[in-house]
């Protein structure tokens, strides 16, 4: 028996990393929000590695924070190790990476959801999406509860028709021994949405006491306190180390001998897996000449003895897993606690979505996270917050928030998905961003806080602090440009001592700071009157001054990019009617329905000539329409 159980502005299906951000954003924007999870114990669960951040992913986490999301703070509060990666490679690619305590991450996030005003968290399996005409109406749970809402966000991760595969064993299931969601996939298909099949996997977890760490290399965290979130002060927590070891020739032999039992090679797995996350057997086959592969052991948390075996993802049978693990130095006696598995699942090919993450065919239905063909907690959360924001704005009748490629990795991620689609689980990378030097992790707040503020996710207090920071940066840069120092001996000595050349005439501090070998602290020895500035302000000044030339170059590129980005393609345009388009362009434009000329120009197979023709056609139609109006 179905019964009407409640009415909401926004319903979020799934409480993983995308679902949590979506639900929090909508509720914090003042919408009555319901978030449904299959299992209360798995809110914000990390089914794969216990880590957050890294290149591009860490950038996403900071952008989520700047928009008022939770992932950064939740990671900061539950981390067991932090490292800044790529410190030798330039500011744009510095990347913070944290090892998270899985249990604590879940516990804290669940609590945040529970305490959030306007937000209800319930355990239920959603069976069906309710639609009225082209508009979303609500959902129905397995127990017959009907919830009506103005907007729905689907964030079901890998649960849609999930299938677990371990060697020749295969059964229907979600990650980590949970139930899959079968009827929801059918319901989506009934709505006219098409589904694709992807595959991913996770390595085994082993017991800490079965590991001989003396044969491994310790990987400690940085001794410097870091924080993802721009709010609050970093503090150094007690850190747990990771461990590095390598596969051996013997490991590879075991794998080769058992390849015939791998479901990947026997064809049992149909879904497409990600290239950046290959199974160990895949690595051994594809890079046959590599004598060994890295294996990292990562603690899953403070209160557990389970360790995650990074680099050892596999779908070989359980007995082979044990055998090959034990050939690795330090793991001769390893005891597996959780078996590695591959999981196949249905996803929603993302070209069916708008840049707002709303489906093109059903008004008010949004989707975010792994269901959209991505992989990674950060990618999921980034889409989650955007979908949550836009579901809330839709419920209020407002225009969606779109982050452009030039504004953030969130923009790069979503634009890539929606415009290009993806034929493997998509992972964000810094090399996917055109304007990498602008999209740094250190300036995510400067890029996006203003937007977060506008949509109502940044508190007065937080915004005040942000404005203060921005003012300090500008004021100090102005001051540095005004203070000129003379070519006196004391100054020359400092310069030469830092491996720099002497100055020949009066020079501003700003000019001197542009020299790669001179930092802000050196300036303090050359002149008086320095204000006492917080570290993050000094960092911004150094980066902005030192990379000014490159930053300006990229800003010019952005300027050009935005001109065609602002040119909107009206929804009534029928691409199949446009004479002169190449047939490939016509077909792809018709399928993807780009919202702007800029987006259209990024579709592979659409040439500059096609864009010219599109522009001429749009103008032609516009004039015909306005002439028609005049004749009436």
């Amino acid at each position: 028996m179905e019964y009407l159980a409640g009415k909401y502005d926004v319903i979020v299906i799934g409480a993983g990393h995308a679902g949590c951000e979506a639900a929090l954003a909508a509720a914090r924007m003042g919408c009555r929000t319901l978030v449904l999870t299959l299992n209360m114990e798995n809110v914000a669960f990390m089914p794969c590695n216990p880590a957050v951040g890294g290149p591009a992913k860490g950038h996403l986490v900071r952008e989520i924070d700047a928009l008022g999301g939770e992932m950064a703070i939740n990671t900061d509060e539950t981390s067991i190790q932090m490292r800044m990666l790529n410190t030798g490679k330039g500011p744009a690619v510095h990347a913070l990476r944290a090892q998270a305590d899985k249990k604590m991450y879940h516990v804290r996030m669940k609590k945040v959801l529970e305490m959030q005003p306007n937000l209800d968290l319930k355990q239920a399996m959603v069976e069906r999406i309710l639609v009225e005409g082209e508009n979303i109406k609500g959902i129905v749970t397995r127990n017959g509860a009907v919830f009506h809402s103005r907007a729905v966000v689907i964030t079901t991760g890998t649960f849609l028709k999930g299938k677990i595969i371990i060697g020749d064993v295969a059964y229907s299931g979600g990650p980590n021994g949970q139930e899959p969601s079968v009827t929801l996939a059918e319901s989506l298909r009934d709505l006219g949405l098409s589904l694709g099949r992807f595959k991913t996997g996770t390595p085994p977890r082993i017991h800490r006491k079965s590991v001989d760490f003396s044969k491994m290399i310790i990987q400690p965290g940085d001794e410097k306190p870091y924080r993802f979130s721009f709010t609050g002060k970093p503090r150094l927590r007690e850190q747990l180390p990771c461990w590095l070891t390598y596969t051996s020739e013997e490991t590879h032999n075991v794998i080769r001998e058992n390849l015939h039992r791998s479901p990947l090679f026997s064809g049992r797995i149909e879904g497409v897996g990600p290239r950046y996350c290959p199974s160990i057997e895949d690595k051994v086959v594809r890079f046959a000449d590599k004598p060994s592969h890295q294996i990292f052991l990562e603690p899953e948390g403070r209160d557990t003895e389970e360790m995650y075996v990074q680099g050892f993802s596999t779908s070989l049978p359980e007995d082979v897993q044990v055998k090959m693990l034990r050939t690795i130095p330090g793991l001769a006696k390893a005891e597996i606690m959780r078996t590695a598995y591959a999981i196949e699942y249905d996803h929603l090919p993302p070209a069916q979505l708008k840049l707002s993450l709303e489906t093109k065919t059903i008004n008010g239905l949004f989707s975010a996270g792994q269901i959209n063909g991505t992989s990674g907690y950060e990618e999921a959360a980034a889409q989650g917050i955007l979908a949550g924001i836009n579901a809330a704005r839709y419920a209020r009748g407002k225009e969606p928030l779109i982050i452009r490629r030039s504004e953030g990795y969130i923009g790069v991620l979503i634009d890539d998905l929606v415009t290009k689609g993806t034929n493997e689980p998509y992972r964000i990378m810094t090399s996917r961003a055109e304007y990498r030097l602008l999209l740094r992790q250190d300036n995510a707040d400067l890029r996006l806080t203003e937007k977060g503020r506008e949509i109502g996710l940044i508190s007065d207090e937080q915004y005040g602090k942000f404005e203060e920071k921005r003012k300090l940066i500008e004021a100090e840069k102005e001051r540095l440009a005004e203070v000129r120092i003379h070519p006196v001996e004391q100054v020359q000595e400092i310069l030469v001592g830092k491996g720099s050349s002497e100055i020949k005439q009066n020079t501003s501090l700003l000019e001197i700071l542009k020299r790669p070998e001179i930092n802000y602290a050196d300036l303090k020895k050359m002149a008086e009157g320095f204000p006492d500035l917080p570290e993050e302000v000094v960092e911004q000044i150094e980066i902005q001054v030192k990379y000014d030339g490159y930053i300006k170059k990229q800003m010019e590129q952005v300027e050009r990019f935005q001109k065609i980005e602002r040119k909107k393609i009206p929804e009534w345009i029928k691409f199949e009617e446009i004479k002169g388009l190449s047939s490939e362009a016509r077909q792809k434009l018709g399928r993807i329905q780009p919202g702007s000329v800029g987006q259209a120009s990024r579709i592979s197979g659409v040439s500059p000539a096609d864009i010219s023709i599109l522009l001429v056609y749009m103008e032609q139609k516009r004039r015909e329409l306005s002439e028609g109006d005049q004749n009436k």
Partner: protein, 459 residues
């Protein structure tokens, strides 16, 4: 792409000595300002709309290219509704081309076919009926550029460019894999190696720019010397070429007054016949100016026509002149084959065997077309394909190569200044992308694909 500034010769190519370069876009005024010296020290910026300014176009090295009239039409009251500057050149075809080259160098982009009209339409200046023809133009242009791309697949140029792109991609893949997967044991590429490879690539690009002879030919004309003994038919050849093709007589400023150059446009290729005055007046080059001077003129020439009389055979003068042309692109023209004597002709064939030979009769007109065809082949010499739009497409290539060189210089200076890898990656990527514009390969998932196929990455 929509609002950048474009330039093109807007009068028919090869027509009379006057030509107009049209520049349109938000930077039109500032770009032309960079190459224009007003005779009254006025700035285009300060001139009112629809005003004419008199002055000179100067190139990068400060040389005067031409005396011109410049008119400014400010948007929206112009043909394209953008700021438009038109340069009226007076110095003939070469001056027009060099002026265009100067404007492009100053920052304009070569306009696509129909692009001025397209802008005019998009900005509401021309009426709806013309929209169709603009679309047709763009489509035609695409087909043509497709042909160009196909032709170039076999060309030396694209082979070279593919090779450089592959090298750039390899560098990028190494750098980017290291950045995106810092904890994987990826063989890192040393900075010294990046520097070495970058310098090599830059060197090759510069070589390409310098050897893009076709560009030079269009800018400066193909310097051609006609040599041969008296009465062999030099002036007949000249007259024949002049008659068939429109000639532009130019008094090039800055050169000696008594040297007059005839410029003939042969199948779109300007042929600069050097010291034709001498040829015309005395009919005897060697006698008038001597062996030393001939040597000098040959040394300066891009192309030499050695004319031999099929009826009288090889003479002493021929034997003196022939060795002087060694190492130069030379066409041996055997004239008067209508009255050839078999025995002398055999001797000629034997003697000139190592050269490109064209048999002709200026009396009957036989062989003239073959000569023109051959001139065309030489001008295009495998560097570019034979398309109407070649001149533009070539300037575009050169433009793109220069941009690439600029990016590579950025890479090298970033290395020298010890800037971090992500800075130099910006220029490396830009270089890779601009080279791709020449071969028509667009940015795609290439880089990401490379990273995954090259390195073993994953958790």
């Amino acid at each position: 792409m929509i609002n950048d500034t474009i330039a093109a010769i807007s009068t028919p190519i090869g027509a009379a000595g006057i030509g107009i370069i049209r520049v349109s876009g938000s930077a039109a005024v500032s770009i032309v300002e960079r190459v224009f010296r007003s005779s009254r020290e006025r700035k285009i910026e300060d001139a009112g709309t629809y005003r004419l300014l008199h002055g000179f176009i100067v190139d990068k090295s400060g040389d005067v290219v031409d005396e011109v009239l410049v008119s400014v039409m400010r948007g929206p009251h112009s043909f394209t509704a953008e700021d438009v500057v038109e340069i009226n050149c007076h110095g003939g075809l070469i001056a027009v081309r060099r002026t265009l080259a100067a404007v492009l160098e100053a920052g304009a982009r070569p306009a696509e076919a129909g692009e001025f009209s397209k802008r005019a339409f998009l900005n509401g200046r021309i009426d709806l009926a013309q929209a169709e023809s603009i679309i047709d133009l763009i489509t035609a242009k695409t087909e043509k550029s497709l042909n160009v791309a196909v032709n170039q697949l076999e060309g030396i140029l694209s082979q070279e460019i593919r090779k450089m792109r592959a090298q750039l991609m390899e560098l990028l893949a190494h750098i980017e894999a290291g950045i995106d997967f810092p904890e994987h044991d990826i063989e890192e590429i040393s900075l010294a190696m990046i520097e070495e490879r970058s310098k090599e690539i830059l060197h090759n690009i510069k070589k390409l720019i310098n050897t893009s002879e076709t560009g030079k030919i269009f800018r400066e004309g193909l310097k051609t010397v006609i040599a041969g003994k008296p009465n062999v038919g030099k002036s007949s050849l000249l007259n024949a070429l002049l008659k068939e093709n429109r000639a532009i007589v130019t008094d090039i400023p800055g050169t000696t007054r008594d040297v007059i150059e005839e410029i003939v446009n042969i199948r779109g290729i300007p042929l600069k016949l050097v010291d034709t005055a001498g040829i015309r007046e005395t009919e005897d080059l060697v006698e008038k100016i001597g062996v030393e001077k001939t040597k000098e003129m040959f040394a300066d020439a891009d192309l030499i026509f050695l004319m031999i009389d099929a009826s009288s055979g090889i003479g002493q003068e021929d034997k003196e002149i022939f060795p002087l042309a060694r190492g130069k692109k030379t066409l041996v023209l055997i004239n008067k084959i209508d009255i050839k004597k078999e025995t002398t002709y055999k001797e000629i064939e034997k003697y000139t065997g190592r050269h490109d030979i064209i048999e002709m009769s200026l009396l009957t007109g036989q062989g003239l077309e073959k000569l023109e065809k051959r001139i065309e082949d030489i001008a295009y010499a495998g560097l570019v394909s034979k398309q109407d739009e070649l001149m533009v497409s070539n300037i575009r290539h050169k433009h793109t190569l220069e941009r690439t060189a600029c990016s590579m210089e950025g890479v090298i200076s970033a290395l020298e200044e010890k800037l971090p890898t992500d800075c130099m990656a910006i220029d490396l990527k830009a270089a890779w992308e601009s080279l791709g514009e020449i071969t028509g390969e667009t940015v795609s998932e290439d880089l990401v694909d490379q990273i995954f196929s090259r390195f073993c990455i994953g958790k």
